[in-house]
Structure formats: C-alpha cells, structure tokens
C-alpha cells in the first residue's frame, strides 16, 4: 500500500490524482479489494487487519486531499497567469462630460441663499421700460438708458439690462416680508475683452417693515456669502453710487491670488471688487406701492465669480462651447 503514498507524492496533475483516487478508493480499487480479502482471513486476525486497513485508508485519504489542494492551487495560478494583461495599457479615458462653470456657479449661489430661506424668482428677458428702468428710479434721460448700452426692440420693449425688473415684478405681486434672489441672463450692448452682450447676474432683495432692515444686516449676509464662495478672505465695503439705491457700497474681497500682496489680477491693489449692494431707495418702494418698509438689495455678476473661482482668464471663452475649456471642469 505504501507505494500509493509515493505515487500520490510524485503526482503532477489534477487528472493524474483523479486516476489514483479511482485506483485506490474506487469500487474496484485496491482498498475495496483488500477489505474483500480480509473476509477470508481467520476471525482472530480480522480485527487487527481491519484496524490496519482503516489506518491506511485514512492516511491515503489525507495524502490525496492534501496533494489535490496543492495541485488545484497551482493550476489556478497558472490559469490566472495566462489571463494576465498589461494594466498600464488601460489607464482610463474619462468619457464623462461636464457642466458649465458659469451655470455651476449660479447653482452654488442659489443653493446658499435658498438655504437661508430666500425664494428664487424669475422674469422675462424681454422687458418694458417701466420694470427695467422707471420703477427703479432711473429717470427717462438717465445716461444708463442710452441706446449705446441697452438692446431695444422695434416696439419699444428691451432686453433687460439687469435682473432688477424681477424684483419689481415680485414686489408688485406679493407683500412684504420678501426675501428673494433673481438669477438670470442679462444684456448690455457691449462686446470686447471684458464685456459680452449677454451675461448672468444674481440679485438679492430683502424687504420688511420700516426700521427692521439695516445696513448692518446687509453687511452680515454678504460677509457670510463671500466666505462661502471664496473661503477665508477679507471683505471690504466701499461707499459707492448706484442710481436706484442708497446708501450704496461696492464690496471687495482680499485678492485670492496674491492674498492681498498685490498682483496683476487685482491691479496691484490687493483687492478684488466682487459685488454691489445698497439700502433700497424709497422711490423704488413708492413705484411698487409699498409704504413704511425698509430693505436691502445686492447684485453680482456670475461670470466674474466663476472666472475668479476657477481662475479662467478670458470672459469671451465662456460663451464659445470650447471643449478644451469645458473638459477641465469634469
């Protein structure tokens, strides 16, 4: 029997080991034969022979199983080796597209203010003089209404020059308190390195009872907003003038490129102008029939934000559908 142990040891394939298994443990195998022969042995020896045979059977069984595991593992290894590939050939090429940085920035701004329980409002792009200018305290002869700056239609309507008409429409349709933002496309008749005839704005408006809304509130919300958009920056307010709002201010952040040391982007000033804001002019409230209210408003250019955040150098490139630019924002 021990010669089978040796055979198992020297076996080198799973097929060969199967042959051995049959030869040893099969119905006509050597073990079966040995047990059969045992029957003809004298009775007093039977117990001894049976014991020896059982021991031998266990020994053979474990040797066979061990060898089988070893051979199977080896066979698997070889099979896998044959399946080997050069993984470096397959560095992936991402086939995802990308959303536009301007639209993404717009969504981010919307999310911030809706989280603060502002409503989102929209209005038509083709506007009339009343909503775009007059109600905003921009008199008929104001330079900003010049043909040079505004796209007019032949029927005396125009393409809105800001999203402020949405504020007017919302105020005329509802009653205070109002907390809203108005995102959308706006149009100015200007086309050069730093201007495109269409761009995007978001304006915000808050109106409540007289005495409830202050300049200090306006500062507070904008500081929070600018930190959300630009991270850890300093925020500076400079008094300025917008025709339909007072008091007005322009808001700067410390330059995100040079951290305020002065560079090309901030024209060596260390500051970047990012938005305009104001306490709403009483004439505007008068135009929409509000009495005894107070409010603030602010507005920003989305392209400007997107260009600063993503460090995009050229405004016009944002409107060219150029995949070389867009694929950088996957």
């Amino acid at each position: 029997m021990t010669e089978w142990i040796e055979k198992i040891d020297s076996c080198d394939s799973t097929a060969a080991i199967e042959e051995i298994r049959i030869a040893v443990f099969g119905k006509k195998g050597v073990l079966a034969k040995a047990f059969a022969e045992m029957k003809s042995a004298p009775n007093e020896e039977k117990a001894k022979i049976a014991k020896e045979l059982n021991e031998m059977k266990a020994k053979l069984n474990s040797a066979l199983n061990e060898k089988k595991v070893i051979l199977e593992t080896q066979a698997l290894k070889e099979a896998m080796k044959a399946e080997g590939i050069d993984v470096s050939l397959f560095s992936p090429l991402c086939e995802r597209g990308a959303t536009h940085p301007v639209m993404d920035t717009m969504d981010r701004v919307i999310e911030y203010f809706t989280n603060l329980n502002f409503s989102v409002e929209t209005g038509p792009m083709v506007e009339d003089d009343f909503h775009n200018f007059e109600a905003l305290n921009l008199p008929k002869y104001h330079p900003a209404r010049d043909m040079q700056d505004t796209f007019y239609f032949k029927d005396e309507t125009l393409l809105r020059t800001h999203t402020s008409p949405v504020q007017i429409r919302t105020m005329m349709n509802t009653q205070p308190p109002i907390r809203m933002i108005a995102p959308g496309s706006v149009f100015r008749r200007d086309f050069d390195i730093t201007h495109t005839p269409m761009f995007h704005q978001i304006e915000g408006l808050l109106v409540d009872d007289k005495g409830k809304v202050s300049f200090a509130n306006l500062k507070c919300i904008l500081e929070g907003f600018l930190h959300y958009m630009f991270g850890d920056v300093e925020v500076r307010f400079r008094p300025s003038f917008f025709p339909f709002t007072e008091p007005s201010a322009e808001v700067d952040i410390s330059c995100i490129f040079c951290k305020g040391d002065g560079c090309r982007v901030c024209s060596k000033t260390g500051w970047l102008e990012v938005l305009g804001c104001r306490i709403v002019d009483p004439n505007v409230f008068k135009a929409v029939g509000y009495k005894e209210v107070s409010g603030y408003a602010f507005g920003l250019g989305i392209e400007r934000f997107a260009m600063l955040i993503h460090q995009i150098p050229d405004l016009r490139s944002l409107f060219e559908g150029d995949v070389r630019l867009l694929e950088q924002f996957r």
């Binding site: 959303t99 239609f153 907390r179 086309f191 008094p239 559908g321």
Partner: protein
C-alpha cells in the same frame, strides 16, 4: 478727476497728511482712487538766474550762459532755443542725479567748459510744459537763488486720480474734493482772503446790457474786463499739464483753471461778438430751435451748459472781454439732451453731473486770477440773471437714521459731519434733525441720501455686522423647481458625456432664414443689434451647437458632444426653454479597445445616449420643418403619446458646409421633461420566459405599424417585446426577415408552454390578418 496734494492744500490744510493716507480716506468715503503717482525733483537742483547768454563760438545751436546760483556764478552751455538772459531757471548742479539716471559732471562742449545743466521740465521728471528749458516765475514762490527745488511743495507733489460716481458732480473741482475731505478729516475749509481788487470807476452797466425774453432754467452772471496780454504762470501750466489739459490760449487756460479749482462754469466772450445798441453790447438769453437756452450775440455765442461757439471767442482786436459764470440744473440739461441730442463735449460732462451753483464765488475767484496774473482792469459790478431755486429741507429723526444704519450714531457727530459737507443744520427738537440741502448736492433729495452721507463718512467697515432675524416661510415655487430640474438634467447630460455650452440668445437672421427656422416678426425684432451675426433672437439652440461643434472640430477634436439648456423665442417673441444635444465625430474615445478606430456616431447609439439622459421615449418618423435635418433620418420623440422634441442626423450638405463628420442633433421642450418622483409598481415573482418570432415583412413596412398591431392584441402576459435582428437576402427580394423577442411573465404562476404558445398565436394571427405577415 485728477487732484494734486499741493493744489488741494490751497483749499484745505492737509500738509500733515501723507499721500497714502489721502488715498485710504478717499476710498473709504466713496471717492475711489484710480491712480496715485508721486512727483519729486531730485536733490541738487537749484534755482538760478541767467545773467548773460551768448552764442557758442563753434556751435550754431548752443549758447554759453553765466548762471547765478546764489553761492556762485557758473558757466553752463545750454542747447535750448528759449534760453536767454534775465530768466530764472532750474539748474542741475554737479553731483545731481537726474530721474533718468544721468549724473551731472563738469563737461566740455565743443571746447567750452560747462558746469551743470539748465533743465527742462521733462528732464526733472515732470510733465512737458514747453519746448526747451523750464522758465521759473514767482507763481511757485519766491525765487531765492540757490534754493533747492526739492524743497518746493509744487515740485514734490502727490497726484491722485479719483473715479467719481455719476452723482458726485460736486467733486469735479478742487473746491468740492476739499469739502468732502473737510468732513472726512473734520478740518475746516480754508477761508479765502478777500482780495483787494480795485475796480474801474466805470460800471459794467455802462457798456453791457443783459436781455432775456423769458426766465429760462439757468443762472448767468457777467463781469467785464479790459483785455491785457499775459503769459500763463508756471504753476498754472504745471498743474494744467498734470490734469492733462491743453488750452488754446492763455485766457482759456486761466478760465479752465478757475473752473477746475472752483467748480463754476466760466467762459470769456469777445466784446465785438455782441451787437451795440445805445453804446452798450447787448447780451440776449434766448431759446434756440431745439429749445436749449442760448446766449445770443451777433450770432449764437454759446449754448448754456454745452458749448461756446468760436465766433464769440475773444479776438486779438477785442479790447474788452466779458467773463460769464453759468449754472444749469443737471436734471434740466440731461433731460434736454435726452429729448433732443446735440453735439456735446467735456463741458456737458460737468454740467450734466452738476457744476458749482455759487456763481459769485466762481467769478470772484476768476477775477482774482486775472488780477494776479494778468493785471487786468476790471469794470465795476456784475450783471446777473437768476432762475428760481427752491431749497430742499429734510426733517429726520435720529432714531430712523440709526435704524437704517444699524448702529447708534450720535446727533452731535451727525450735525458736525453734515455741516462740514456744506449742509445747513437748523434748530430742532430732541431726537430730531432738520437739514437744508445745499444746491450743489442736487443728488440729495430724501432721508436715505442723508444716511448715505453719514454711512460713507463713518466708513462702512466701522459698522458692525448684525444678523437679520426673520420668520420662516415656505418658498417652493416654479422658479425654484426650474433651477433644481435644470441642475438635474445638466448633471445627467454631463454623466452621459456631454459638455455644457452656454451661447448668446442671439442668432443671425439670414442664417435662421436659410435653414427655415422660425423668425421673430420683423416689427418685433431688435432695433440696435451689436453685430450682423447677432442681429435677432434665436428660435433654436441647434444652430449654436452646430457652430460650436464646427469650431471644436476645426481645432482637431475628433469627438464633440455638447448640450445646452436655454431660452429661445418664437415669432411673437414668446420665450420658452429648450434643451438640445449634439454629437459629432467618433462614437467613443480612441483607444486599445477599439484599435484606435472608433466608429462614427450613428443613429442607434445617439438615440441610446439621449435616452440615458432623459429616460424612455419612442421615435416616430417625421418630416422636420427646418433644413438642418437629414430627410430620411429624422424622428419625433414621444413620451406617453406626447411629442417632446425631435432628433435627426445633420443634413450632409450642412455638415459639409460646417466641416463636420457624422453629426446628430436633438432638441427638446424642457418643460416636457419629467421631474417628478418615481412611484413603485408591483412586479411578478414568477420566472420570465422569452420567445423569438421571425417573420417576413416587406422592406417598406415600418416597424411602428407592426408594433401598433401587436400592441392592440397582446395578452397581459406579454410584458415587453423588441426587435433583435433583421436579415435581407436575394432570395427574400423586396422582403426582409425580422426577429422579435417577446418577454412573457404572469403575476400568478410560472407560464407553461401552452400559455406561451397561445399568446404568440394570437399575435401571429393578428399580424397575418392586418398586415398579411407570416412566420419565416
């Protein structure tokens, strides 16, 4: 508005403030600093006097000068054409280093020793004032020989350019800027010493008469002067060149200087420009044909607030000149200009933003300049015409002011601040303030304006932020849903490999017309487009995508997948939102997997990818109304029987025109896209069976027709069916074989062979009956 520190210092004492401090203050009070430059003359440049000046014996253009520089007399060779004896000059002495880096050393010029250099203004780093050397005069102070020019404040100055907002016409003068600084620093404006000017015995009324038909909205004031010749002093020339002003004559320059300093609009007329009646020149204020206020002489002399005509200027023959100060309210002149536009220039810029209304003050200042620099004889008295002006008075409570600002500001502080700005503060009750607005602040008309003044002078950065508290409100509306939906679909499109394009809402009318897209009605179209290629509103997103695809292909892109969500306009200019896709070139990225040879995008793959973005839809053959589409590869897209858009292959001739390979496009009504939450429906727990059916159909039969027939008769167990194979052969001729795969499943049990056969038989017999189709 350009100012210099020394000029400003004539009006307010700011000697102790540095240039940087001034800039910081200007920024914080809303006069934005655009530019800050420092002028300084190097050391060892001293005042000298040319005692003698003789031609160089060996050089035509050189002169040999003896120059007294206080401590000694130096011989200096000078090449300037305007050098002569008895003039005061700036002398660079030995050891001086000029701004350009030149170091002054004794030199020999054509055999003659020259010890030092007589300087021009540009050699000193100043603006150019004249050809040749800079001739000094007493306008820059006493000319003590040998004194260093670097000690002279006029030559060591800060130049600051301010960007003024449109409402601050009052700061378009040195006087006005000084007034704002006075409030910012709480320093009083300098009292101007009343000049002792001797006027002629003869009064102005003896030589001049002012006529007016009706009272126009203008203020005019006149003074008559004997004309005398004079040269503009150095200081004025230096300042005018710093503010980049070039004047035709010394008189013009002096008037400009007076206006720039005081803010009052001033001009000079020649006496001969007016008709003489009863020995008096007749000045007439009239309205011209455009309803502008004009000063009339023999001809139109000037349009008030806009322009002076050349014929009324002071001529060489004139012995008398008439100086006019004028004021017109900015809203009056702006409105006129809006109603009837006429040619205008820098003067209108001033008057439409608000010039200084105090004409007495301006005229007096002007008279003082003429007296000082031109020793002019002046006729006694003035002639004037005043429009009515109603003083604005505002009553406010300190509490309201503080509520708007959001912090407590003291009444005394407010009072002082407003007074410094030139406002009148009248007596009032406790907690109240009564303010009279000066005429030069036409932009201040209500409470908020006053608060704005206070806010800017306090400095917004000094107001502590304070959170606003509010009552929560549900704010879900159509707009918020729209933006959420837009974001959802934009993300899905990007996930499926499309890049988002944002295009202008403009298209070229001729191109829209060429491809038969709807056009905005002519009478509703743009009046003043910015360019021919952007001359109308777009009625489709597709053209923009085709153009962008073309541009991308031209720079070597082998696959261009774009999408846009944006507004389009119909003939009546109604706005709607569309979503459009384009897919051009290779159907996948090149790589090992496709042996570097990906297929061109085809109909099937395009439809598949669009459905990955927007969900299931069905296609129906359609003839599209525009000319971009391939006539035999166009389809309407339907969801639950409703048309949501169309998709098509780009017409080969259009593709050729735009240099595009295989290109597919799709445009959808964004509103029809689903944006609701999905609802669960139950599904069978029993095993599904599949059964294929190959039928022979005529090639002309549309699958949609066949599908309709099956849909009508299919049993409830037929869950889904779809085509899986087509086969054509010579043997089949005009017919083809089509294999359909059916998925069958029951809610109640595992289907048995007879159930399946019965379902399939029903379908087969209907196909046979309706379309004459049989099994292959």
């Amino acid at each position: 508005m350009i100012i210099t520190k020394s000029w400003l210092n004539e009006w307010i004492d700011i000697k102790g403030k540095s240039g940087a401090e001034l800039c910081k203050t200007f920024n914080s009070i809303g006069l934005e600093v655009d530019r800050h430059e420092v002028y300084s003359v190097p050391k060892k440049i001293v005042i000298g006097k040319v005692l003698e000046c003789e031609e160089h014996p060996d050089a035509d253009k050189l002169n040999v000068c003896k120059v007294d520089i206080g401590t000694s007399v130096r011989q200096i060779v000078c090449g300037a054409s305007n050098v002569r004896a008895d003039i005061y000059v700036a002398v660079a002495t030995i050891g001086a280093v000029m701004p350009g880096g030149l170091k002054i050393k004794p030199v020999e010029l054509r055999g003659i020793e020259s010890v030092g250099m007589i300087c021009s203004s540009t050699e000193l780093g100043l603006p150019k004032l004249e050809d040749g050397i800079m001739v000094l005069d007493e306008s820059i102070g006493s000319l003590k020989l040998g004194s260093e020019l670097s000690q002279n404040p006029y030559f060591n100055d800060d130049l600051i350019e301010l960007e003024l907002t449109a409402n601050r016409g009052d700061c378009l003068s040195i006087n006005g800027v000084a007034r704002d600084l006075s409030a910012a620093f709480d320093i009083e404006i300098k009292e101007r010493p009343k000049a002792q000017i001797e006027e002629k015995q003869v009064g102005i009324g003896r030589i001049l008469h002012l006529n007016h038909s009706k009272n126009a909205d203008v203020d005019l004031m006149y003074k008559a002067l004997k004309k005398s010749d004079f040269t503009l002093p150095l200081l004025l020339r230096l300042r005018l060149s710093m503010v980049e002003e070039v004047c035709q004559s010394a008189i013009d320059a002096l008037l400009f200087y007076a206006t720039y300093s005081s803010g009052v609009i001033l001009r000079a007329y020649g006496y001969s420009a007016f008709p003489i009646e009863q020995e008096k020149a007749q000045i007439t204020l009239a309205q011209d044909e455009d309803d502008y206020a004009v000063v009339q002489g023999l001809e139109k002399a000037s349009t008030v607030g806009i322009v002076q005509y050349d014929s009324s200027r002071v001529t060489d023959e004139d012995e008398i000149m008439i100086i006019e100060a004028s004021y017109i309210q900015p809203d009056v002149i702006s409105r006129k200009m809006a109603e009837k536009k006429i040619e205008n220039g820098p003067l209108f810029y001033r008057t439409s933003r608000g010039s200084e209304p105090d004409l007495d003050f301006g005229l007096e200042y002007c008279q003082e300049l003429f007296n000082t620099y031109a020793q002019t004889e002046i006729y006694g008295g003035t002639l004037e015409l005043r429009s009515s002006y109603e003083e604005k008075v505002l009553h406010m409570s300190i509490k309201d002011i503080n509520n708007i600002i959001g912090m407590d500001v003291d009444k005394t502080y407010i009072t002082q601040l407003l007074k410094n700005l030139g406002f009148g503060v009248l007596k009032s009750q406790t907690g109240q303030i009564v303010i009279s607005v000066p005429q030069f602040r036409h932009d201040v008309s209500h409470d908020q304006d006053i608060v704005e003044e206070i806010v800017r002078l306090i400095g917004i950065d000094n107001i502590p932020s304070q959170a606003y508290s509010f009552t929560e409100k549900v704010h879900k509306n159509d707009a918020s849903v729209f933006f959420a939906k837009r974001k959802h679909y934009r993300q899905r499109a990007a996930d499926c490999g499309f890049f988002e394009s944002v295009q202008f809402v403009f298209n070229e009318r001729a191109v829209l017309q060429e491809f038969d897209f709807p056009l905005v009605e002519e009478k509703l179209d743009l009046l003043n487009p910015i360019a021919g290629t952007l001359d109308t509103l777009r009625s489709t997103l597709l053209l923009g995508l085709v153009e962008a695809s073309s541009a991308n292909t031209k720079v070597g892109r082998k696959q261009v997948k774009l999408f846009e969500v944006g507004s389009v306009f119909d003939a009546q200019r109604n706005e709607s939102i569309k979503m459009a896709f384009s897919f051009s070139g290779a159907d996948s990225v090149e790589g090992v997997r496709n042996n570097g040879k990906p297929n061109a995008i085809g109909f099937e793959k395009f439809v598949q990818i669009i459905s990955n973005v927007i969900g299931d839809f069905e296609l129906r053959e359609v003839e599209l109304s525009h000319g971009l589409a391939h006539p035999y590869q166009s389809a309407e897209m339907l969801v639950k029987g409703e048309v949501i858009g169309s998709l098509f292959k780009l017409h080969p001739s259009v593709a050729k025109k735009y240099d595009l390979e295989s290109t597919y496009l799709c445009e959808l009504d964004f509103d029809t896209l689903k944006f609701t939450l999905d609802v669960f429906s139950s599904f069978s727990k029993f095993q599904a069976s599949y059964r294929d059916l190959s039928v022979v159909i005529p090639k002309s039969l549309k699958y949609a027709d066949l599908k309709d027939v099956i849909t009508q008769v299919q049993s409830a167990e037929v869950i889904r069916f779809y085509p899986v194979d087509t086969y054509e052969s010579e043997e089949l001729g005009d017919n083809m074989s089509l294999t359909l795969r059916f998925m069958l499943q029951s809610e109640e049990k595992t289907l048995e062979e007879e159930d399946i056969t019965s379902s399939m038989d029903t379908i087969l017999s209907a196909l046979n009956k309706e379309l004459g189709i049989a099994l292959r």
